[in-house]
Amino acid sequence: MLKKSFEDYSIKKDLINFLNSYSILTDDEMEESWKEAVSNVFKKEDYYKITDHAVRVTLCKTHFRAFRISSSYIRDIDLERFNHDFQL
């Protein structure tokens, strides 16, 4: 019932349109994307061998959730380093 109420929600429509503006990746492109994820994010040689989509998604989700929780608890900020990096 709730789902029906939100069928015509403008934000839902906008988000689905945004998603549909990207074409569906081919299997080769998905493989390429996994290689990039291993090389840029996970940096673990063993991960190249993983072929199961569900396992890959689990690893991505784990990484993403870990990033979210750790960034939510940042207490001290090195302002000097920040100013240097952003040349403020």
């Binding site: 939100f6 015509d8 994820a37 989700k61 784990t62 993403f64 979210r68 939510s72």
Partner: protein, 289 residues
């Protein structure tokens, strides 16, 4: 385990992340498994309520709590990346940095999960008063998460960060946060008004109930007057507590669903963006439920 091995010796701060991914219909998990507490030696009481040798009504209720927690854990996947707009002319550099880097953006949500987990640990150890006491901050933080998110989009996130860094002028009461949500969440216009009023009323009622155990309780509110001072001896108190947790999770999950209606429309985001180039949050994937 020896005492000193319990602590991190390098002063690092560790975070546990729990992810479940179902490729078939999701299976039942008990409340200890949901928080990966299976290896924690619960009390005899904990082992008995996790066993099959309990009344069917209690079993059903605990199962419902487990689903409620799993649902709540899933919401972190749909949170968007930023905390709305920020003030460019802000004179506090640290505040400005936190705003533009979106640091701490889901602090309230993750802190609420900590309280919920601790409440479940207490429950499994038969510490019902401690369970009850921990549920109030859980509820406050769960509502604070959506309040600050909404407020930050409608105005700016500076008040959130000022509160977060200790400026008590920006601390919000539970009722204020809830009222603000019901007056400002855009998705509410599509829903049945009377149902929403009930949701709001129920959340306030649950909160009032929880408050009794956080402030000087009067005789009728005292757990000792209901259950004695020798541990769990009153099954009515236990069943009331279990019902309260179940009801609270239902209403919290409902309010999150209203805030993030895209949870009802999962998408195959990986096929569109690859494994790590997609938008932050906004969608549930096909493995969320």
């Amino acid at each position: 385990m020896k005492f000193y091995t319990y602590f991190n010796d390098d002063n690092s701060i560790a975070f546990n992340v729990f992810v479940e991914l179902q490729t078939t219909d999701p299976k039942e998990m008990n409340i200890a498994e949901v928080f990966n507490l299976a290896n924690i030696s619960n009390s005899e009481f904990g082992r008995s309520i996790l066993s099959n040798d309990i009344p069917d009504g209690l079993k059903k209720m605990l199962s419902s709590i487990s689903w409620g927690i799993r649902t709540y854990i899933c919401y972190q996947d749909i949170f968007d990346s930023g905390l709305g707009s920020y003030e460019e002319d802000i004179d506090d550099v640290e505040l400005f940095v936190r705003q533009i880097c979106d640091f701490n953006r889901n602090y309230c949500y993750f802190e609420s999960l900590t309280y919920l987990k601790e409440a479940i640990i207490c429950l499994l150890n038969g510490n019902l008063l401690a369970t009850m006491v921990l549920l109030r901050p859980f509820l406050e933080l769960a509502i604070a998460e959506i309040y600050w998110n909404l407020k930050s989009y409608k105005k700016s996130s500076s008040q959130f960060y000022r509160w977060l860094l200790g400026d008590i002028r920006f601390k919000q009461g539970f009722t204020n946060m809830l009222d603000y949500f019901y007056s400002n969440c855009d998705a509410l216009s599509l829903l049945d008004k009377s149902g929403l009023q009930n949701n709001k009323k129920d959340l306030k009622r649950i909160y009032r109930k929880l408050c009794s155990y956080n402030h000087t309780p009067i005789l009728n509110e005292s757990i000792t007057s209901h259950a004695g001072n020798t541990g769990v001896k009153d099954h009515r108190f236990l069943s009331n507590l279990i019902c309260l947790i179940n009801e609270m999770l239902f209403h919290v999950n409902l309010i999150y669903l209203i805030k993030y209606p895209m949870t009802l429309f999962p998408q195959d985001i990986y096929r569109r963006f690859g494994y790590y180039n997609g938008p932050v949050g906004l969608f549930f994937d096909e493995f969320n439920y």
